[in-house]
Amino acid sequence: MAAKAHREFEPDVVIVGSGAGGGMAAYVLTRAGIKTLVLEAGRDYDPVSDSAMLKWNHEAPLRAAPTPEKDFGYYDATVNGGWSVPGEPYTSAPGSVFRWWRSRMLGGRTNHWGRHSPRFGPYDFQPFSRDGLGMDWPISYAEVAPWYDRTEKLIGVIGTNVGLENHPDSSPGVLLPSPKPRATELMIQAAANDLGIPCVPARYAVLSRAIDHPHAPREACFNASSCGRGCGIGAAFQTTTSLLPMAMGTGKLRITTNATVSRVLTDARGKARGVEYFDKDGVSHFVKARVVVLAASACDTAKILLNSKDGGLANTSGEVGKNLLDTTGTNVSGHIPALEGRPRYNEDGMDVAHLYIPFWLYKEQAAGKLDFPRGYHYEIGGRFGMPGAGLGLGGMEDGYGLSLKEDARRYYGAQLSYTVRGEMIPNKDSYCELDPVVKDKYGMPVLRFHWKWSSHEIRQIAHGIKTAKEMIHRLGGTVTSPDLPPERAISDGGFIIHELGTTRMGDRAGNSVTDSFGKSWDIENLVITDGSVFTSNAHKNPTLTILALAMRSSAHLASRMKKGEV
């Protein structure tokens, strides 16, 4: 899809990044008739030809096992990235561990993301008002709700309105039908409900009905092939089969790939005049534009701003790179004897989880009955999965010979998993800055990460582990995952790949980098549409909210441009 930007194409707006934030900005701006150039650091990528849908694991090296070159396995739709990117290192300060997942491909991480798409609720936009921690967003749920509706309708989200506290319903007609749950999910649900815990249809950005569009026709899910491999039929949402071709169809978009933006350049009055990028040969280029939109991902956006000026561009608040957030994570697995040797059927479904466990203790939380302030959810699992480098027998197999073959048949599909995903509160010990020594292959200083979980997160994880064990025990199961204390069971910083907050939005210039429309307080023609603008990170996976806010911010930008304000 990407073509060399024509030399004569002079964009009004240059967008840095083609993932969720950049793709949505390109879609909204081009539809408003604005000439737009997207710069993508990675190579061109087309999931129709490049993804490995329906390939078997035995066709891949090492049965498609993860390696340092393909951290999520051979078929994962991550190009030239993962926990490391050749030539683009990052560092962690002494005593800190932070892991940063990147890809270098058109569409960025939307090509492989989990597609889990819950909405933030009213409490999530006003966290400080509720418990005195962190900071409130400059916008309420009510202001964002219509943008959620529009975004869900546009990208396609399966789900069911369930009317639970702080888990908002969508407007009628917005959500696509939920698939039937798997037997394992129905079992988890039965035990959860028995313990007073809800388990409801999950919301995922995967189509259960086709969406027709002249430039981006998308088929309904055909109930096979892992979404993480990328979706050549367009059912699982990614910008490469939706927002980018839709924007391209307007005739107003150009895309340049292999263009790694290093700096935003400003004029004598401090306005942005364009960006500098390096091509794959390391040659630097300048692109001039009326407006610069940063959507490079939370950490790369911070890196660009910090490299653009001593002390950081758009940083009179001093908040660029600060308030770095991730989601807490841990996994509790169990072996369930009642599932041993169960009848076989095709359990792929839509690949994603069909049910999940949303946070359910808001009343107890408000009453001060919990020893942790913010919520979490469980992403549940357990199925007859495609055999590969792991067979998923839960370590129950023993011995050898004919009895081992019997073990494999008996224990396959008899394990359940409860994956905790929880809210982290911003803290002063978790941030990124420029490394004083290390540089990338373009000669630009790289990011150095500082990271610390607080006791809020550790106690939340302890609660998540304890409750998951209760649910496994209620099913007569035994816990098979390692029994670690919560401070060791909690994932490393960055490991859940929900980096957010490095240019947070706020209600005034002193405490934040942008206003509620992602507009820099310092530079009126600089707008940020990726996850770096998040004021907090509710436990609800962030991509849907990135998309909704990017849509809102881009519509606001388009209207300012139309009025000649920028």
């Binding site: 490049d50 090296p61 049965r63 051979y74 030239n80 009848p343 792929d348 027998l393 023993d398």
Partner: protein, 239 residues
């Protein structure tokens, strides 16, 4: 726990927690937790030796391989005798039955060779464990029966497997070879059941595109679920 096994365990845990493809059954080398039974007649000395092996320096497949035309760029490295021991071990581990062929018929020796010849850290740690283990099988056979493992009888080979194969029966001096066995078994299970014959045996029915909404569990699967829930004092939730 020795340094090498600690590192291997950490590597396994890291891989398992990476999410996409957990190497199940390898994350927790269980023998430590198992109750000990009275020891059989002890072997005089522990015959296990951790081999020191040169690093594999062959290239990997890189950060952007062609996913639809996979190639394995590293050369295979096992000696013919090691491949022969692996074929014998594969047939002991996963013999042919009415449902699927034997381990050697599905070329598990070739898969193990591919695995331990790969240049990545997990596979290099496995290389040391697996190759040390193959040498131990021979040493144990030589000491007991004065022939190599490949020349031993089926009953003699089983006697050696029985030392390490059952988690509740491993005696202290066989802890280390038992770790090898757990890893070998895990790799052989993965190599076997990921192939079409193994997939048919274990009953994976997916990777099969269908139109329309996902139909959910079959009536038979629902009947099984309902019976299981009833036994647990639970009932299906109406959605």
């Amino acid at each position: 726990m020795s340094e090498i096994s600690r590192r291997i365990t950490l590597a396994w845990l890291a891989t398992a927690s990476a999410g996409a493809l957990a190497l199940e059954g390898c994350a927790a080398p269980a023998p430590n937790a198992a109750p000990m039974l009275p020891a059989p007649p002890p072997t005089p000395v522990s015959l296990w030796q951790d081999l020191t092996l040169p690093r594999i320096t062959a290239p990997g497949y890189g950060y952007d391989p062609n996913l639809n035309k996979p190639v394995i760029p590293w050369p295979l490295t096992l000696e013919p005798q090691q491949r022969e021991v692996l074929r014998i071990a594969a047939d002991l581990m996963l013999p042919a039955d009415a449902h699927s062929p034997s381990g050697s018929a599905l070329h598990l020796d070739a898969f193990l060779d591919e695995w331990v010849s790969a240049p990545y850290p997990l596979q290099q740690a496995d290389r040391r464990l697996i190759l040390s283990g193959l040498a131990w099988l021979d040493a144990e056979s030589q000491q007991r029966f004065h022939v190599g493992f490949a020349q031993a009888t089926d009953a003699q080979r089983r006697e050696i497997f029985d030392l390490v194969a059952f988690r509740r029966k491993v005696t202290p001096q066989y802890q280390r070879p038992a770790q090898f066995f757990v890893r070998l078994r895990g790799l052989m299970l993965a190599g076997f059941y990921s192939q079409p014959e193994g997939i048919a045996d274990i009953g994976y029915m997916g990777n099969n595109p269908t139109t329309g909404m996902y139909p959910g569990p079959t009536p038979e699967a629902m009947a099984h679920l309902n019976a299981a829930l009833t036994k647990l004092g639970l009932k299906l939730v109406k959605i």
